[in-house]
Symmetry: C2
DNA sequence: ACTCAGGAGGCTATTATGGCTTTAGATTCG
DNA sequence: CGAATCTAAAGCCATAATAGCCTCCTGAGT
């Protein structure tokens, strides 16, 4: 899978968190957004691990943005949540690495690479700030 | 789901078909691209149904592009293959239609709408020709 | 010490992916 | 013209990945 529901939830959460002035806990976010609590918790943890969110334990704990909205790109968010970049193609990162079993794909690798590049650029330049403005 | 493997296979197929001068059957495409035959067949059928591909039955049958590459946008391809637009969000198309169960999401609907619009525009302007050039 | 909220793991349900078979339309050949 | 063959079309079934649920553990605040 390429772009999953987890990405959707991550972006929704980031929008809400960007408007909060104190950390919000995952249960509150879950209620606000009607997102399954335990699934959301994992997503928030992934974002915290990549330092897109800060996490706080304890009574008034929760999550808050670790970066300014203009420094949070959709590409980073998706990569963090999905554990890898939101690749459109599972082709190798370089033409040389193209696995032999898919040798015929290699011949069209330049086109895939071009498309992937366009998508990556778009997502990298699209920040949380662009959505909020 | 948002963007699936089916989209990947669809785009791969379109690239190959754009270089063919005669219809290619799904089995050949499947072999060329190392894509599961039956799954690919369904994808090609979906593209044919949306008139992105032309299909031909019989001995020298197969699929070929129904449109010029510059008239095939990634948005159309993804919509055709996934049965719906590659929405990042499952939010309602208009703020008024926002289902009550997700009432709290409605308050951030403008932001989602903005993001969705940006993504749609990007995908609508990205054509097969852009990849091939 | 107690409570609250994040971190981490396992388990189930749902959905996407892939396999297989049958039907229908088109072409070729006898 | 009719039979055989080829390939798309369409369905059902199996498997794999994702989405979602639950429990226990850890660290911070009171």
């Amino acid at each position: 899978m390429l772009i999953t529901r987890a990405s959707e939830y991550a972006i929704l959460s980031l929008i809400v968190l960007s408007k909060a002035d104190a950390p919000m806990d995952s249960e509150t976010l879950s209620r606000e957004l009607s997102i399954p609590k335990s699934f959301l918790a994992k997503i928030l943890q992934a974002l915290a691990k990549k330092e897109i969110l800060k996490s706080f334990k304890g009574v008034h704990g929760g999550f808050s943005l670790a970066l300014a909205p203009e420094d949070i790109s959709m590409l980073e968010v998706m990569s963090a949540v999905e554990g890898k970049a939101p690749a459109v193609f599972e082709c190798a990162p370089s033409r040389e690495d193209c696995p032999s079993e898919r040798a015929n794909i290699c011949s069209i690798w330049p086109f895939l690479n071009k498309l992937q590049g366009k998508i990556d650029l778009f997502l990298a330049e699209l920040t949380l700030a662009d959505i909020l403005e």
